[in-house]
Symmetry: C3
Subunit: 263 residues, 3 copies
């Protein structure tokens, strides 16, 4: 049985998210569909790309990820479907696949991308404003129902790529950046375990505050403490035990911070 995930910026209060499921089930009636989230900040392609990168390793082979964060809908931007390792992606060509594509390439996994141009796999009427419903959902349905990727479109090799901000090497350490703030107010950053290989004996300086060392888990410090730890995706995160680092530090995505290795 096919598994399909949905990631959009549609919100959960309107009809758009549910329509995707109706369209998919009209074509692939037994599909299991999960709403990963419909709360991507409007037009935040990078946040959706990051979520797909975090989620996909935990999905079964053959899973199809539909992502619709699509500020260019109705313009000349291409529509894509792709295979990355054992899983599939369907959505606009605007960088959403950047991180899962890079990982598949780094791991020498099979990669195959087609530009969607076969209208027989779309709804019969295609609006200018909702390709999620009219193109991406039906294509995902046909993929789930067994249509091979190469029937859905024409191979391309130049998908749009975007990148996470790169950490900057500074004297005695790194300058990093906050790339996501979660529901608890934890700050995810663009540093990970590789940047801490030299040592976890570091001092982290963010918004004028210093954090000593990287702990293993929240319970290592008292409630209310500001801590640094490796989060569940292996990224360096800044948190408050049972609280919100975002609120405590008035932090926002894009904020910079420094990691200094102890001498």
């Amino acid at each position: 049985l096919a598994v399909i995930s949905l990631t959009t910026d549609f919100g959960s209060g309107d009809h758009e998210a549910g329509v995707l499921q109706g369209v998919i089930w009209s074509i692939a009636s037994g599909a299991h569909i999960v709403d990963l989230t419909h709360e991507i900040p409007p037009q935040s392609i990078l946040e959706a790309a990051l979520l797909l990168w975090r989620v996909s390793p935990y999905f079964p082979d053959g899973a199809i990820h539909v992502a619709v964060v699509d500020p260019g809908v109705g313009t000349a931007r291409r529509a894509l479907a792709g295979q990355f390792g054992t899983q599939y992606f369907v959505g606009p060509d605007n960088g959403l696949i950047s991180l899962i594509l890079k990982r598949a390439e780094d791991n020498n996994e099979p990669v195959s991308i087609v530009q969607l141009d076969q209208r027989k796999f779309w709804l019969s009427e295609v609006s200018n404003v909702f390709h999620g419903r009219d193109i991406f959902a039906p294509v995902a349905g046909y993929l789930a129902a067994g249509t091979p990727l190469n029937k859905l479109g024409t191979p391309i090799h130049d998908p749009v790529r975007i990148e996470l901000p790169t950490p900057k090497l500074i004297e005695g350490g790194w300058e990093g950046q906050v790339i996501h703030i979660d529901h608890f107010g934890n700050l995810a950053t663009n540093l990970d375990i590789n940047h801490l290989k030299r040592s976890k004996e570091v001092v982290i300086e963010i918004k004028g505050v210093e954090i000593d060392g990287v702990v293993s888990t929240f319970g290592d410090r008292p409630v209310g403490s500001l801590i640094a730890l490796l989060d569940s995706s292996g990224s360096l995160a800044i948190s408050v035990v049972n609280g919100s680092a975002a609120l405590n530090l008035h932090a926002a995505v894009g904020d910079k911070f420094e990691v200094h290795f102890n001498k």
Copy 2:
């Protein structure tokens, strides 16, 4: 396999939405269930009716739509199930079906409505405050499991109907109204492509601001522009490219605006 959709004003943070799925699965164990939304504004029957009207064309034959926006629960208001074309509805008799019923009638599709009065298809205990759980979910479960509509209740022909506000013909154009504001701040209106048949060369006046013409899609204008376009349901919508028309115009549901055809 039956497909069941859920639309309520219960919110996503409480137990009520999930209970519906438990009850349905207790009766129709293989049903695929989708939460269309649980974020209908409290008691907003018209918004739920509009959502059902927008969503149902994209669901497969046999789909069962359960809608519970039910300020009259526990009073004399009737409980309904109905068939409209190839799909089904279960919920209170307060106007929720108005728009899908009218469309089925306009299209000469089969329509059949019963008042739910067969307690053997309800939970054994029926509370005064949660018919979603005690009546509508089990009835949807039995429908999904194959019970024919006419076993569930007694035919009626006078369901409660509500209407979208009617556009008003004015000199040289139309006066319309905002009927829904979505997650992006797009303003959906009660005008549609039929009101623009004469021409799309129009000037739209809303809250003291003028919009020239109806564009095809968001990308036709620079980011930040106020535009008018036909949305994915064919309604005239007022939007800001990659922004929020609701915020820019301080607009609310019920706000009026005028469309003037160019001479």
Copy 3:
């Protein structure tokens, strides 16, 4: 087919909730999964325990409830799976099961609890910060796929228990407490039908306001009225007809109130 429910404080905007479904489907591919809610207030074990208690009677036999509200993740707190009557629970040992355990005991239903200590039923890498993904979701998947409970861990008999605040007997009545506020602003309390056996002819005093008697349903009073009624779980609730008691009374979880029986 197995039914699995998910209850967490992860929010709906991040990747954590969806990852659970991916992990479960990787092990139990046909499972039907419902998100009960991911909006439990952060670290509010009691609210999650209450939700499980309200929801589980309406789920089919064999349902597996995964609850991850887990401030102690990565510390010495135990991980549990348990059977309570005909249903299952998987999650941390911090009191989440307290109310469903007590009900099973009160009803003399079978109860069996194991401490999860069999790593072969976990993901191969276990992080310190996300046992929902690494332990609880895979264990739920194996349960759903038919692994017996007693293979998953070692029996224990001392799970952590927490309690709802106990109503206090006062002269001529009861002192109760608000234990949950729902999406509509209804105040659920720790009093129930048992505390009103003597009479429903009561005066309720909350925040300086008096409510006369307990009504049957919302429609018994005009829109805007402050009322007391028995909610769908049999608890005494304080509501405003088509409005919000929480807003009207500026009420919060933990607020006390008194019920006085009429002489």
